[in-house]
Symmetry: C2
Subunit: 146 residues, 2 copies
DNA sequence: ATTTATGCAAATCGTTTGCAAACCT
DNA sequence: AGGTTTGCAAACGATTTGCATAAAT
């Protein structure tokens, strides 16, 4: 099973929600697909200057509703966005720098991840929660800020 | 070892940073200590009407700098605050409702927590990160919103 | 042709800040 | 007294939104 093309997956997810896969949206996905870490909206429009700020914001909302991207908020004043796992095939977690706000990806060993899933499932059940996903962040000083 | 008095710990932490433990600050700690979940600033000033909004915000910043409270941001538009573990003696994680934004506390079994710590330590090392703490959130629909 | 998306500029809203008065030690 | 903290109102800044135009089907 090869890694899917993010554009194909995005287009399909959008179509399901009766949404078009316009040029702006393609450009947005392209930027996120070629990024190596979650980006802020400013960073996104910097990399693709044809995108108006409001268009970026609006489409990111649509993307989130369709499960195409995830919005990540840390303590930083800027939210960050990344493609959903359906577009990247890579379950991961985040290192968050408490000083500069940068976010990096990491993974944990599969067995631990499964153990975590099991434990969280129990928690959800006992709280009457309908679990959607989990987040595991490691907060600290990044190499440049320590 | 008994659970410490949050006021004593807060006062001590503040003193270390040459900060006073004023009436406003005591009231703020009292509200957080009697809450059963992280609160937004609005919720805080609702419960203690003597607190001006700006005073609450300003003191929460001071508290955070002194390690007295933690600021929690989810996807919600309001940040939430809770006492640091030094004041509560209770390491826990958060259930976050993706609809209403409410945050609830939960714990995982000790062995899993320790395994997690070990794994995160390795991650931090490999990234040259100076780890401060970790966060584990379970995101979904709470019992009232599902 | 009709519906949906875009861009600009203005509005929103949580949070921050300037400044004079109140407070603490 | 002398430096801090507080409260009010004004400022800020990231995000959202109204509306007229452009794009997509």
């Amino acid at each position: 099973m090869a890694t899917p093309d993010p554009h194909d997956v995005a287009a399909a997810l959008l179509r399901t929600a009766d949404q078009r896969y316009t040029r702006s949206r393609q450009a947005l996905i392209e930027v996120l697909a070629t990024a190596d870490a979650p980006l802020t909206v400013d960073e996104i429009v910097d990399r693709e200057q044809s995108l108006a700020l409001s268009t970026a914001y609006r489409n990111l909302v649509v993307f989130e509703e369709c499960g195409v991207v995830h919005r990540i908020v840390t303590s930083d004043e800027h939210a960050r966005y990344e493609l959903d796992e359906a577009l990247t095939d890579r379950h991961h977690h985040h290192l968050v720098c408490s000083r500069c706000g940068v976010v990096l990806d990491f993974t944990v060993p599969d067995p631990l991840e499964r153990e975590l899933d099991r434990a969280l499932e129990q928690v959800a059940t006992s709280f009457g929660f309908d679990a959607e996903h989990h987040r595991l962040d490691l907060v600290g000083r990044c190499a440049s800020c320590r």
